[in-house]
């Protein structure tokens, strides 16, 4: 079998590898990649030795602030970001959940004020390991599998 690359190499930018296949488009949405003018390559269901199937996202000429990428930990807590310059990985960044998540998650309580007013949602991350969030307003606790992105 040839060792042909499944996704073209990146000269400069950010490569997010080993994304669980079900999380790829959620990562796109969290990082708002649809709004970028940079070249973005999205690969999904690619073969992976570690994960059998995986997703990859490469973004040319774009480096993210820690605050931006940490939100990815909501949907893919174990991924790493490769920072690439001159076709070389110069840094590998782990994602860690921030203490607070603003706006990207929807509160699952239909009687919560955030679902009835034009306002931002706000959650406290009360367990980073198990990914448990608590709504700042109605105090509802949500576990990882219940989290819905806005």
């Amino acid at each position: 079998m040839s060792k042909e690359l499944q996704v073209a190499a990146l000269e400069q930018g950010t490569a997010i590898d080993h994304i669980p296949t079900e999380a790829v488009f959620k990562v796109v949405s969290i990082l708002q990649l649809q709004k970028l003018n940079n070249r973005v390559t999205i690969g999904n269901n690619l073969s992976s030795r570690k994960m059998k199937k995986k997703g990859v996202i490469k973004i040319s000429d774009r480096f993210f602030e820690e605050e931006e990428v940490n939100k990815i930990a909501l949907v893919a807590p174990n991924i790493k970001l490769n920072i690439i310059k001159n076709y070389e990985v110069i840094e590998k960044k782990k994602v860690t959940l921030p203490d607070e998540i603003v706006e990207i998650v929807k509160c699952n309580n239909p009687k919560c004020i955030t679902n009835n007013e034009p306002m931002n949602t706000r959650f406290h991350v009360i367990d980073k390991e198990r990914v448990i969030l608590q709504c700042h307003y109605c105090e509802l606790k949500m576990e990882k599998e219940d989290i819905i992105l806005k």
Partner: protein
């Protein structure tokens, strides 16, 4: 800087609570003062309420303040689609303080973030009702002379009861012992048992309304078992009848025991208890006025 508000009893620490209880005691001795003269308090009840609204408004009136507001959202501009933020910003320009009840959970927290004046949460859905907790704490403090080291037996709906959850939270820094008496379907949620464990609070759970839970108590806090929580009507009837307090059940109780209830009561305290000097639920409701006077003055920085 945002003004201080009372949204959740957890916003107040032990010193805050004791400060307010001491001033509530002074208001009980002398409820008619001029402390709110020249102040306008907005009473925004997006959801109907009798006891809470009337006791807040009485509290303001007895301190010579003026009340504006509405007692039903049908008479507010929210029916025209106005956002809560806009209503609060507008009323915040008229009044010195906003007392708000709203059916949406988290509404009071949000209002406190946008309001230019203090917000008092008078109930946000099934979430928080901190002035009820303050009046409960005041009644306990008044009748026992302290909040420390008391045995509190709580009976009824411990799963959904908002007053119960906030009371446990409010007492958690005062080294209480809790007896939780509830049917299996309405047992105290894990979250509150974890809080007790974290603060080294001793507690026992009872399925039966056992004599030792009554006889060991300094405070017997009764709550209503609500019919709408049950899918099986037979089960409701069985449960409802097992958690009724009759006067003769108090015969072996401690001399300092007081029976409390956040009201309205249905059948869970038999009428024959009412004449027992240990029955204190109507005085507890009266204490709502003094506790609310104390909360309002505290938020406005007015010293008694």
């Amino acid at each position: 800087m945002k003004p201080k508000s009372l949204v959740d009893i957890g916003d107040y620490n032990k010193e805050d609570i004791l400060r307010i209880l001491k001033s509530a005691k002074e208001f009980k001795n002398n409820p008619n003062l001029d402390l709110l003269q020249g102040k306008v308090c907005a009473s925004l009840f997006f959801e109907p309420s009798t006891r809470t609204r009337l006791s807040f408004e009485t509290a303001v009136n007895r301190l010579r303040g003026r009340v504006i507001g509405f007692s039903d959202s049908a008479t507010s501009s929210s029916t025209k689609g106005e956002s809560l933020k806009d209503t609060i910003l507008m009323v915040g320009n008229y009044a010195d303080l906003i007392i708000m009840r709203h059916h949406l959970e988290g509404s009071a927290r949000y209002a406190s973030e946008v309001s230019p004046v203090p917000i008092i949460n008078a109930g946000d859905g099934s979430n928080q009702h901190p002035s009820q907790t303050m009046l409960d704490l005041f009644t306990i403090y008044e009748t026992q002379g302290t909040l420390d080291n008391l045995t509190i037996t709580i009976v009824g709906d411990l799963k959904y009861g908002r007053a119960v959850h906030s009371l446990i939270q409010g007492l958690s820094d005062f080294n209480p012992i809790f007896n939780f008496v509830a049917p299996d379907e309405m047992r105290i949620p894990e979250k509150y048992k974890l809080l007790c464990d974290k603060k080294s609070i001793k507690y026992a759970e009872y399925i039966d309304f056992a004599p030792e839970a009554i006889n060991s108590a300094d405070i017997l806090y009764m709550t209503r078992v609500q019919r709408e929580r049950f899918t099986d009507l037979m089960e409701y009837k069985k449960v409802k009848d097992s958690y009724v307090l009759y006067n003769d059940m108090l015969s072996e109780s401690k001399p300092n025991l007081k029976v409390l209830h956040p009201l309205p009561r249905v059948t869970e305290i038999n009428q024959d208890v009412d004449d027992n000097p240990k029955a204190y639920y109507f005085q507890q409701a009266e204490n709502g006025v003094y506790a609310r006077q104390a909360i309002m003055c505290d938020l406005l920085g007015i010293k008694i």
